[in-house]
């Protein structure tokens, strides 16, 4: 068991998982900041629809989300066909795994970011405007810095969620060792073989540790931001 800890195969699985989650967050966080800022604004036409779409991956069976990605971004998919013309293939690649994981994590990333924007005192932005700050400068210097803890909380939570993604990933990019076989997929594969239990256990340890650390960090940040924005 000790040998497996330093086994290149184990490290490759953990590294690939971290790499997929990191790319997923790099794609999703900027989108989530825009969505969070928009959803924090009071009623605008279509807000309910956008909010519902953002939350969809949370309630749709992951297999369905993965299939939707395949239909959209697969080699013969609507967008995938067009990407194929440029030699870009997302299905069955680790970049595709990041997209699947990112999409599944999106609602969890948006939530604390939206909360961070919603709890801000709108009068601070008005004050910045009276001091001559343009819309962009107000967002960059007042709104965004106050939302940082929320953004970090969303990032951490989303990272943990992306790390554990299974259903959408296996449907969209399959279970290819060293390309799309992330932690969850590797654990599942190992548990299918009679001799894999002890190796699976180590990966399970990794998964539990990373998830717990992420969720705890996110909780602490969220309560901190609530206290800080209270006054």
């Amino acid at each position: 068991m000790g040998a497996f800890l330093s086994d290149p195969a184990t490290l490759a699985i953990v590294t690939l998982s971290l790499q997929v989650s990191a790319l997923a967050m790099a794609i999703v966080v900027p989108i989530a900041i825009l969505l969070g800022a928009a959803l924090a604004k009071p009623d605008w036409p279509g807000k309910a629809l956008v909010s519902a779409l953002v939350h969809l991956p949370l309630v749709t069976p992951p297999v369905v989300t993965g299939y939707a990605l395949l239909v959209l971004l697969g080699r013969r998919g609507w967008v995938g066909q067009w990407l194929d013309g440029f030699g870009i293939q997302l299905a069955f690649s680790w970049v595709g795994a990041a997209i699947a994981a990112g999409l599944m994590a999106l609602p969890l990333v948006v939530r604390p970011i939206r909360l961070a924007f919603e709890t801000q005192d709108p009068r601070l932005v008005e004050m910045a405007a009276t001091l001559g700050a343009s819309r962009l400068r107000r967002f960059r210097t007042v709104v965004l810095p106050m939302a940082w803890p929320g953004i970090v909380a969303g990032l951490v939570l989303g990272f943990a969620k992306a790390l554990g993604e299974f259903g959408a990933t296996i449907t969209f990019v399959g279970n290819i060792p060293e390309e799309t076989q992330t932690l969850s997929l590797a654990i599942y594969t190992l548990l299918q073989s009679p001799s894999g239990d002890s190796r699976a256990l180590i990966l399970i340890g990794f998964a539990v540790f990373i998830s717990f650390a992420a969720i705890l960090g996110s909780e602490l940040l969220t309560s901190w931001i609530a206290r800080r924005n209270a006054r």
Binding site: D121, R123, L124, E126, M127, A128, A129, T130, L131, G132, A133, S134, R135, R138, T141, V142, P145, M146, W148, R228, N229, R231
Partner: protein, 225 residues
């Protein structure tokens, strides 16, 4: 010179006000909810009236007939509200410099000195008392070199002791900075200490124009039924 004619609706309150002033310190006096702050927000551009005209010196800031509505950040108004509203992620100094674009670095130190802000510069706004916070807010507004300084109940959140400490600073600004001030308050003594002309605001309308001396004898609620 300030000229304001505005009509519009805020919640249940119907605003229909006209006023004209060329005095250094103009006060809006009235009960809370009378529409004083809304008039101030109209001048600063934070509230958009349905119709009317707002003019400061030769500059038209709003006129629905000729379609002018200068955005807030281009109106060059300094504002201080009841809450100091300092940016919590910045130090006091960064707050002060937020709207400061002048090359005249002397001005920064003049304002810091006039408002006794030197010892506060490196602090976080979280660690200021109410009176200190208002002084920083005032300094920040002044450093934006506004054409008009809008003060909306700037002393209301403070106790009497702190109030007495802050009032002299307002007087100093009035005398030293030569920037016209519009001062909104429901407190006669504050207005009497600072204002040259007083507009009494009631139910969204300017119902009377008084001098500061006349305000002392003025009783609320007799003018309209």
């Amino acid at each position: 010179m300030l000229e304001v004619t505005v009509k519009g609706q805020v919640g249940r309150l119907e605003i229909n006000a006209h006023l004209w002033s060329d005095q250094p310190v103009t006060a809006f006096y009235g009960r809370s909810g009378a529409g004083k702050s809304t008039l101030l927000r109209a001048i600063s551009g934070l509230w958009r009236p349905d119709e009317g005209r707002i003019k400061v010196d030769d500059r038209v800031l709003f006129d629905n007939v000729i379609g002018i509505d200068v955005p807030v950040h281009k109106r060059n108004m300094g504002a201080v509200f009841q809450a100091a509203l300092l940016f919590p992620t910045m130090s006091v100094e960064r707050n002060l410099r937020y709207g400061f674009s002048s090359k005249d670095t002397g001005l920064f130190f003049d304002v810091v000195e006039m408002l006794d802000l030197g010892p506060l510069l490196n602090r976080s706004p979280r660690h200021l008392s109410g009176g200190e916070g208002q002084r920083v807010a005032l300094g920040r507004a002044l450093l934006a070199e506004p054409e008009i300084l809008l003060l909306d109940e700037p002393l209301t959140g403070l106790d009497d002791h702190r109030r007495r400490q802050v009032i002299p600073y307002f007087a100093a600004i009035r005398d030293a900075m030569r920037v016209p001030i519009i001062y909104v308050s429901h407190d006669k003594s504050e207005i009497a200490a600072l204002a040259d002309v007083v507009f009494v605001v009631e139910r969204g309308q300017v119902v009377q124009e008084l001098s500061a001396e006349e305000l002392t004898d003025f009783e609320m609620g007799l003018s309209t039924s």
